[in-house]
Symmetry: C2
Subunit: 176 residues, 2 copies
Amino acid sequence: MRLDHRRQRDARITTHVCLTARALGASGVFLGGDQDEKVMGNVRDVVKRWGGDFTVEYRKGWENLMEDWKNRGEIIHLTMYGEPVQDVVKNIQRSTKDKLVMVGGSRVPRKVYQEADWNVAVTSQPHSEVSSLALFLHHLFDGKELEFEFEDGELQVIPSAKGKTVIKHERKDTLL
Amino acid sequence: MRLDHRRQRDARITTHVCLTARALGASGVFLGGDQDEKVMGNVRDVVKRWGGDFTVEYRKGWENLMEDWKNRGEIIHLTMYGEPVQDVVKNIQRSTKDKLVMVGGSRVPRKVYQEADWNVAVTSQPHSEVSSLALFLHHLFDGKELEFEFEDGELQVIPSAKGKTVIKHERKDTLL
């Protein structure tokens, strides 16, 4: 969940948060704050072109979401004030339940810190919710997220030492 | 090096690129594209408050920088079209020379792909230069970047399971 999205200021950062979540193995994203159809449309467009399943949902009330999630699994809040990811990730991995990862937001309410099962820091230095999310998912998935395959995309990159190689697959629209 | 910064569009993403570079162990950043004193000032302000050494320089010409760097060490260009980071990082680590890491830029010139020693992909999916840089540095430094300490900062976070703990150090201004 991306907390407190502001349409003017955060459009690109929020888009990068969503795409990072998708590329590194999350199953979907909830957007809080301003309801920004443009950002959500851009992310859904990437899903359509590049494949895989990834859900994009607007959630005005993060409090309800946190409340609901308590019955479903763990809540991890990423913050530079939390416990080092490298120290706590093994404990977080022990539960096989669903994980809700929350990222700020310029001002994250105190309640998020209190209600989260884990407040996790990717270094205690200021940097970015995008890099924090990337490194948290990398730790959570033990590097396996880098091998993740996305099915049914229109576009696929073939890794290359120099230059760009992209395969464009035929659209598999059914004609039934 | 952050290529092709555009003042209007990229201010926050470029700031996140710079802060990610700093937090995860890079020694400095070169900014290309628009000369943006505000972004550079914001990053320098973080260095002043949070400590450590980190240089911020404007470089109009990335071509000169690449040329110069060939005598100094390796050039790594991060791109979703490159070779998987997990496959090539061991080879990159073999050289103890300085590393120049380049990130785009909406349109990276073909010459960057050709002149770079390595074109490296953090997944072959579209996401973010911020998350790509974070995961590349994490691989390059084998996770040691998470333990890096920043000296002489005014502010220091003490990791905490709930809430925020920040120590404010006395400024050590000399009176000589």
